[in-house]
Amino acid sequence: MVRMDLLATLVPALPLLGTLVTGFGRRKLSAYAAGGLASAMVGLSFVCSLVLFLGHDGGTHIVHLFNWITVADMNIPFAFQIDALSLWMMLFVTGVATLIHIYSIGYMHDDPRVATFFAQLNLFTFAMMLLVMGSNFLVTFIGWEGVGLCSYLLIGFWYTNPGYNYAGRKAFVMNRIGDVGMVLAMTLMFLQFGTLEYAQIMDKAGSFGAGNPILVMCTLLLFLGATGKSAQIPLLTWLPDAMAGPTPVSALIHAATMVTAGVFLVVRSSVLYELAPYTQEVVLWIGVATALFGATVGLFQNDIKKVLAYSTVSQLGYMFAAVGVGAYSAGMFHVTTHAFFKALLFLGAGSVIHALGGEQDIRRMGGLRNKTKTTYITFLVATLAIAGIPPLSGFFSKDGILAGTFEGHPVAWAILVLAAVFTSVYMFRLLFLTFFGTYRGTASPHESPRVMTIPLVILAVLSAIGGVLNIPHVFGGNEWMKQHLMTAVDGVLNEHLSITAGTEFTLMGITLVLVLLGAWYAWKLYGGKTTLDGEPDDMPFLKRLIARKWMLDELYAYLVERPFGWLSRHFFSIGEDKLAVPLTAGVGETSYRFGDWLRKIHTGNTSLYLFAMMLGVVVLLLITWMGA
């Protein structure tokens, strides 16, 4: 047990140590030293997680560090929960994070603030670990807010650009809107259950009975938090803007790990969601809508990172659709495979951007197939994986979700398949425009250094074979992932796929055919592009509408930002200047006026004073006499 306590503490502590060392030593450390140190810390953290994972006995262990907040009958410990779910998250997050750290050594080595970059990246890993390891909602919330802050810092890493700063603030504030839900949910749960420990809440929730309004309220509020962090409708517009950050940040935070925190939270509280069918419906349909939304907008983006960002939004929608129908293991499986191939895609995009000296517009790319061979091959693997081509990982994970939704919600299934087709179109469009045809830009492309390509290769392998983690029964697999999570996530126990193998194969076939058609369509349109005008700027109305994310930004500006500014202005001009300040000034004015008026009595005429005095004496005497 002692060893487990130590290891579990080391997992978050090592990246924190890395933050402190690289942060305070940023002047002394060279770019490579800082990067190496930061990577080593996360790597060690990965090793610790691996040891814990391998030594795990399938139970739930609480590592109690100290009592954090103790008031009256409230006691919130600072403790970690080590179980199958948190271990799995720890393992793949630190794993992917290590690769991205190593990649960043190459990607960021020219930046003057590289040590700061690694300090913040390490801090992010620390916060993410708290998020997944917390044994109660409040410790998770530490990480939840922490990753939000790191996200803010890293999006605005190049702080001289006002647009980037705006993007950072937007991300943070939209996350905070979600956090309102999270905080309220925690408050409600604490007052209802008297604790915030996951294990105890899940025990006590059973006594509330399915469909209890309190549970519906809790889960909806929690889900509001999840929509903020995981960029779901309606709080999604920050994610595409978040691409302002350096590309490794986009890969680590805004694709592989942080944005899946919402899914993790739903899986963590699966018991509550199972008891609130209404919320499950909401989660499902929000997920489905977001999947389609992201996929449509992705079709018309010309910025390589923006395409991937919308793709992330869309894929996160899949995950929520999965947990919405109660297919938690499928959701977590997709979280994992998505982390592999989306991190790979972003890193590949980063490699391309690096190769082209900062160019991000795919209209000015093309023909990079031969010039950046490793990047091309790995990117191709990732594209096949995300499109769902067997036997790559994406095929299995996406299939799990589709099979799960088909059972109870065929309409949702159909929309998700449509989104999968769009996914195939925009991903192959991206692939063809970037790597096929002839080069349309002016820079001289070159392959990235080893330190960047090796992580690409490792991730490509993982994206390719990641499917083995959860091979479904129809292919003779044993669904390892599901078996693994079953010990920790009660919701997994309720997963019963009752559709027959035949139906499942049919579904797979339909999806696969449609996806291949999509790829073929993309090839037809973009396969051999040689000219510069990849996509004209003037598009028909519908296209323009979609490309501008259905005018969501404009809508929010109209509904939220402008009224807020108006309110702020008028509170100030009316509330302060016209009401509140006159109140204070009024007290002063009134005293002044009164004194001014009273002063007139003092004429300076002594006779008058004497007379007044006499009068006063007489009056006093009269009063005394009358009283007597």
């Binding site: 003092h602 004429t603 300076g604 005429n605 002594t606 006779s607 004497l610 007379f611 006499m614």
Partner: protein
């Protein structure tokens, strides 16, 4: 001392009251109506002494020496007051060129 007391007691107490009130009333009227500060000060003295008269009479009639202590106290105050008052008066006469109280109305904010 005994004969002084007897002498005072010759006059009935009511007469002392009337005289004292008359003197006091003259003093008040003078202080309020006259404009010359010298006269006003004299009127103030008159008022004080009217009180003294009453106190002495009462002291004799009731055989209480306490009132006489009060009389000495008042005389002391009156002496001090006259000293200061006359000094102010002289200064006024020199600086303000006049002792008319209605012209001395600069005593205001």
């Amino acid at each position: 001392m005994e004969d002084v007391v007897t002498a005072i007691r010759v006059v009935p107490l009511g007469h002392y009251f009337v005289l004292s009130f008359l003197l006091f009333g003259i003093g008040v009227a003078g202080a309020l109506l006259r404009r010359n500060i010298l006269i006003i000060i004299m009127c103030l003295e008159l008022m004080l002494n009217s009180v003294n008269l009453l106190l002495v009479a009462l002291s004799a009639w009731y055989g209480d020496a306490g009132a006489q202590v009060m009389v000495f106290f008042i005389m002391l105050v009156a002496a001090a007051e006259v000293t200061v008052g006359l000094a102010i008066l002289v200064q006024l006469k020199r600086n303000a060129e006049g002792v008319d109280i209605n012209q001395l109305n600069r005593l205001k904010w």
